[in-house]
């Protein structure tokens, strides 16, 4: 050991990347992942093409600061919902990770999903694992050249389409495609299409498992949510060891061997290049490819399936596994509370905003008639899909007078209106320095569009 570390001293601590060639795998979990790939990527590539009530069904219009999601239009004022959504996403990640490990990584993460598609394309041109290794070792000849060109071209086209689709969530995708066909894209659209296209090509084509191992923060902190009752992918060491090759007809017990025939297929299918038989490792993204391939081998050997399986540390140690643990219940309860709160507030959302900005240049003003006057600027946003006429009233002090040109305020859908208004009151009504006054705004044609905001009225004390 000492000698080894001495000889290694003064060597580079960085190493060249060793390419991982994941072997193609079939089985239950591979089908689950494929379902994930088709559903998620299908949604990603198709959703921007749907129209809804005269606009793109899902459109994040950044310059106009409006997010359209089907019948809902979100304004910057609704950003709290995004916070709610992110909290739900985080809690869901905690919940599922505690329950069944890195489900997100194995079946749903964009890195996994896009890499899977890139692997398919790689196999179209270069064949499966063994052929790929052979091809990479072979000298540069016409065959290798053509296969590599074919692979990268397909990757690049797919990546460009990915980038185009991404930008299509922010610029209406139909207009974008017309611009693209006419070579008329703006500089920023071009930049982001190339940027996201390049990110897809780089991450799914070249970086792959290195994103999970070296870059992804989730990969690291998900392990912190594991306990001994969490479902993990594990090799059953008691059953498998000692490992060794044997004849199919031989009884392993007579040979003094476990069930593992040491075929190393579990290593060959692993997309992160680890050996699951070394135990739980942070590199494991929980894709279950090793389970699928090992089950196949066990079937061929006529052994029981599940030498590598979803299990818990407790189950492997022979202790009873408890699925309903306090942390699972806390996460699910929190998830339920946050999700229902968010759902309720979305349903009750008022598409009308009233902001009261009190003038700051003077606390109050005394008119020539001796009345005390306060000035406010009202900012009203009609976030509804229809135009409305709104009526403004104010209350809070006896005989309070609201002065504005026209009490009925017409506001178009999506319009922001700014109105300076004046409140006047006879000083005899004022018994203290400040009063809260309530501004009440209601649509004349729809009672449910109704907001109240409190402002402050300041005056002198009169006795």
């Amino acid at each position: 050991m000492d000698e080894k570390s001495n000889s290694a001293a003064n060597a580079e601590i960085y190493q060249k990347h060793k390419k991982v060639y994941p072997r193609e795998v079939h089985g239950l979990f591979a089908s689950l992942r494929n379902t994930g790939v088709f559903t998620l990527l299908g949604l990603y590539y198709l959703v921007p093409w749907f129209q809804w009530e005269g606009h793109q069904a899902v459109l994040f219009d950044l310059p106009a600061r409006k997010f359209y999601i089907f019948s809902l239009t979100f304004w910057p004022q609704d950003f709290i919902y995004l916070a709610g959504l992110l909290i739900i996403a985080a809690l869901a990640l905690f919940f599922f990770t505690t329950l069944a490990g890195r489900l997100w990584c194995g079946y749903a993460c964009p890195q996994t999903v896009w890499t899977e598609v890139f692997l398919w394309m790689e196999r179209w041109f270069e064949g499966d694992r063994n052929k790929q290794i052979k091809l990479d070792k072979s000298p540069w000849a016409k065959n290798k050249f053509l296969r590599k060109i074919g692979k990268h071209t397909t990757w690049l086209i797919f990546s460009a389409w990915t980038g185009f689709t991404f930008v299509g969530y922010f610029t209406p995708i139909k207009e974008l495609s017309i611009l693209l066909v006419n070579f008329n894209l703006g500089p920023w659209e071009t930049f982001w299409i190339i940027f996201y296209g390049f990110a897809t090509y780089g991450n799914a084509g070249w970086m792959r498992e290195q994103v999970c191992i070296y870059m992804c923060p989730y990969a690291r902190f998900q392990s912190a949510m594991f306990d001994k009752d969490t479902l993990i992918i594990s090799y059953d060491e008691k059953r498998g060891d000692p490992r060794g090759a044997r004849n199919r007809s031989a009884d392993p017990k007579n040979l003094g061997l476990g069930d593992c025939i040491d075929c190393t297929l579990c290593v060959q299918v692993c997309p992160t290049g680890i050996d699951i038989r070394d135990g739980l490792q942070y590199q494991c993204i929980g894709c279950a490819a090793c389970i699928d391939v090992c089950d196949e081998v066990m079937e061929k050997m006529d052994y029981d399936k599940g030498l590598v399986r979803y299990t818990t540390e407790h189950a492997i140690e022979g202790v009873k596994t408890r699925l309903l643990r306090p942390r699972v219940m806390v996460y699910s309860l929190l998830l339920l509370v946050v999700a229902s709160t968010l759902g309720y507030s979305m349903v009750m959302r008022m598409p009308l905003e009233l902001d009261i900005i009190r003038d700051r240049n003077a606390l109050y003003r005394e008119t020539n008639e001796g009345l005390i006057e306060n000035i406010y600027t009202l900012r009203i946003i009609n976030m509804d899909r229809q135009d409305h006429v709104y009526r403004l009233t104010a209350a809070g002090i006896d005989n309070l007078k609201l002065l504005l040109k026209n009490r009925d305020i017409p506001i178009k859908s999506g319009e922001i209106v700014t109105i300076p208004i004046r409140l006047q009151v006879d000083p005899v009504e004022l018994n203290k320095v400040g009063y809260n006054v309530v501004f009440d705004l209601i649509a004349t044609d729809n009672d449910t569009l109704h907001v109240q905001e409190t402002g402050r009225f300041i005056g002198p004390i009169s006795r």
Partner: protein, 296 residues
């Protein structure tokens, strides 16, 4: 920046960059006694969580180098090293001016089109007045109030009382060139008694109650001293910005005390010029908005 400080910044920055490179080189070699590559370091957490001494990928190292190259590239192009101006001569001021020019190119024609209309006509244009209101809220409301009703010392622009005239041209001139109004202090010239008398007379000019005997004495004093600016009848002089004292509008406060203070200590009113800042076209639109408030 002084030359010494400039050199300090240059040397300090470059020394840091070189320091970063040296640090990367020093730490990229294995140390004596370190765990062998691929074996556990001996650190254990949570009872069974072990740490392997795994190497970092080479591209990780390259990211450090790329960052250094980017930093050097940036310092060559942009002004980051002391007094060095940068290879492309970029300045914040030029960027600001370019943005202003771009905005003027976009919005300038809108204001230019409005400026072709006369101020009274523009005041009837609903859309123009909405734009005018936004300009007013941005540039004028801080002193004159959001409703243009003014405040103590800042004239009300909604009424028909004008210090320098309420004609479209006068309003526009006030905005473009600003105004300097000075009421000189008269306490020394009038004496305590004189101030009381003139104040009583000034109150009576607006029809407010005051001691008529004092007011009668005050009238004589007013006609000799105050009338030079405020006219013999107290209606003021818009050429000088001398206020009309007969309309019961009190810019600096309506109480007797406030009026006496005005007489004793004088007042100064400054409206800053906006010609350079807003330009003719925006001032024209603002004048139309203000004109429309008292001429609906």
């Amino acid at each position: 920046m002084s030359t010494a400080l400039s050199w300090f910044v240059i040397i300090f920055t470059l020394a840091n960059i070189i320091g970063c490179y040296v640090l990367i080189r020093l730490t990229s070699r294995r140390k004596e006694g370190e765990a062998a590559e691929g074996s556990v370091t001996g650190h254990t957490w949570d009872g069974d969580l072990q740490e392997y001494n795994n190497p970092l990928p080479m591209w990780w190292l390259w990211l450090f180098y790329i960052t250094i190259v980017f930093g050097i590239f940036y310092l060559v192009i942009y002004p980051g090293l002391g007094n060095y101006k940068g290879a492309i001569g970029w300045t914040q001021l030029e960027e600001y001016q370019a943005e202003i020019q771009a905005a003027d190119k976009n919005y300038g024609p809108i204001f230019a089109a409005y400026s072709q209309k006369s101020i009274p006509d523009l005041g009837k244009d609903h859309k123009a007045m909405q734009a005018g209101q936004r300009l007013f809220l941005t540039y004028c409301a801080a002193c004159h109030g959001s409703d243009a009703g003014g405040a103590t010392g800042f004239p009300n622009l909604r009424d028909s009382d004008w210090l320098y005239g309420g004609s479209p041209e006068a309003i526009k001139t006030s905005i473009l060139n600003g105004r300097n109004g000075v009421m000189p202090p008269m306490g020394a010239a009038l004496g305590n008694e004189g101030v009381e008398e003139v104040a009583a007379y000034v109150l009576s000019l607006s029809g407010r109650s005051s001691d008529s005997a004092l007011a009668a004495k005050g009238k004589t004093r007013f006609e000799t001293i105050c009338a030079a600016c405020h006219q013999a009848d107290g209606t003021g002089n818009q050429a000088l910005g001398a206020v009309n004292l007969t309309d019961n509008v009190w810019l600096h406060g309506r109480s007797v005390g406030a009026i006496k203070k005005t007489i004793v200590k004088g007042r100064t009113g400054i409206m800053p010029p906006h010609k350079e800042f807003l330009g003719e076209d925006k001032a024209h639109l603002l004048a139309a908005y203000i004109y429309s408030l008292s001429n609906p």
